[in-house]
């Protein structure tokens, strides 16, 4: 199982990034190998539709679980289509969230906010 968490910095002491779509990196934890990798979020600089592109990135990395503070509707559509479950982050640090998830303490994110797309004007 692969678990992705948006992070501000490329290390395990990082905080979770408040913005899912525009996080600079994702930390991806593979529970089968217990290995951690950091993936650059190529969607972060998008003028618009960053959430969708970021979701595509996670789908392409065969992620199963996303832990985030919030998530937009468009991104959620892609994640759900890719069978990625979304859980609500409750801690400040990325590792604390991962631990909480593995101990079954996190809940699924239920309130997806409507898509506030990067529009033209």
């Amino acid at each position: 199982m692969k678990i992705a968490i948006p992070v501000d910095e490329k290390n395990e002491n990082s905080r979770i990034c408040v913005s899912y779509g525009r996080a600079p990196y994702y930390m991806i934890f593979d529970s089968d190998s217990a290995k951690v990798e950091f993936v650059q979020n190529t969607a972060a600089d998008s003028a618009g539709g960053a959430g969708i592109k970021a979701a595509q990135l996670l789908v392409n990395h065969k992620v199963n679980i996303l832990i985030t503070e919030r998530c937009g509707q468009n991104a959620a559509d892609v994640l759900i289509a890719g069978n990625i479950k979304i859980y609500r982050a409750t801690k400040a640090l990325v590792m604390d969230n991962l631990k909480a998830f593995l101990q079954g303490e996190l809940e699924e994110l239920s309130d997806i906010h409507p898509g506030y797309h990067g529009h033209k004007n």
Binding site: R15, V18, S19, R22, A47, G48, R70, A92, D111, H113, P114, Y116, H117, G118, H119, K120, N121
Partner: protein, 292 residues
């Protein structure tokens, strides 16, 4: 999560006095850091004077198309495929109108001569002042879009340069309810809404409350120029009461506010009715934000 508190001041449309309230709060809090997220028409720098020049950086948005006149054979395929009327011809050569170009790169794809390339375009400018306070602001270039992303960049510029001792950050938000507002709200602790007692003001307020609720931030409401329409002010009060939102003050219409603004000074630095009202609102705001 963070040691310092982030307070965002919002209103629906422009002209409700949002910037005046933001400026007053900055003075009262002696805020060491603040930002103006109204990147389409930034105004805060007019009333919160800085003693030093700013450090400016260009801000890049979507790429735009460029045509190499040497390579262009004048076939006109680009014009045919462009959906935005952004390519025009002059003496059998083709040119891109940067204001109309949306950056879709269809022209680059269809050009048989490889004469078209996409290039970063500067769509705005970010300014960072550091003395006497840290002040982050930006201005979009005319005809540019993507202000949501620029708003995020303005906030990031502020947070990245904060001093450790900073206790409160005041952010003047963007008008409207669209993408820039969402970018403003994201990550703040509290939203103070400056509402106007008009029919459209009430509907704007309801929409912002709705949006803010989704982000799980603290919300409080105050009314500006409340005495210009008392019945509507009462409606706002009632709405807040029914929805469990703290209603924390009413600012009267005050000619002195215009006088102060035009001199670049804050209403709380003067002896006036609107200034007194804002001081009370400030105290109540602190109570709410510090309890959290």
């Amino acid at each position: 999560m963070n040691k310092y508190k982030k307070l965002l001041i919002l209103s629906g449309k422009g002209g409700t006095g949002k910037t005046t309230v933001a400026c007053a709060f900055i003075n009262l809090a002696q805020a060491k850091a603040y930002a103006d997220c109204d990147v389409d028409a930034p105004n805060l720098h007019l009333v919160c004077k800085q003693s030093q020049d700013s450090t400016n950086t260009d801000y890049y948005g979507l790429q735009k198309a460029h045509i190499d006149p040497e390579k262009c054979t004048g076939c006109g395929l680009c014009t045919k495929y462009c959906r935005f009327d952004a390519i025009y011809s002059k003496e059998n050569k083709y040119f891109v109108d940067p204001f109309s170009c949306e950056g879709c790169s269809v022209c680059e794809f269809v050009c048989p001569a490889s004469a078209i390339f996409m290039k970063d375009s500067i769509t705005g400018e970010m300014m960072l002042y550091s003395r006497p306070s840290l002040f982050s602001t930006a201005c979009l270039k005319m005809g540019s879009g993507n202000s949501g992303k620029l708003v995020s960049a303005v906030k990031k510029q502020l947070y990245d340069n904060l001093d450790k001792g900073c206790e409160i950050v005041v952010i003047d938000g963007s008008p409207g309810i669209g993408c820039p507002v969402i970018a403003s709200i994201s990550g703040v602790d509290m939203v103070l809404i400056v509402a106007e007692p008009s029919v459209s003001g009430i509907s704007d307020m309801e929409r912002i409350i709705d949006t803010s609720n989704r982000f799980g931030v603290l919300i409080a409401v105050c009314v500006n120029k409340y005495d210009t329409n008392i019945p509507n002010t009462l409606k706002i009060e009632k709405y807040c009461h029914n929805n469990n939102i703290p209603f924390i003050g009413k600012i009267p219409y005050d000619k002195m506010a215009v006088y102060a603004t035009n001199r670049g000074i804050s209403i709380v630095s003067m002896d006036c009715a609107s200034g007194e009202a804002v001081k009370n609102i400030y105290t109540k705001t602190l109570e709410i934000i510090n309890k959290a």
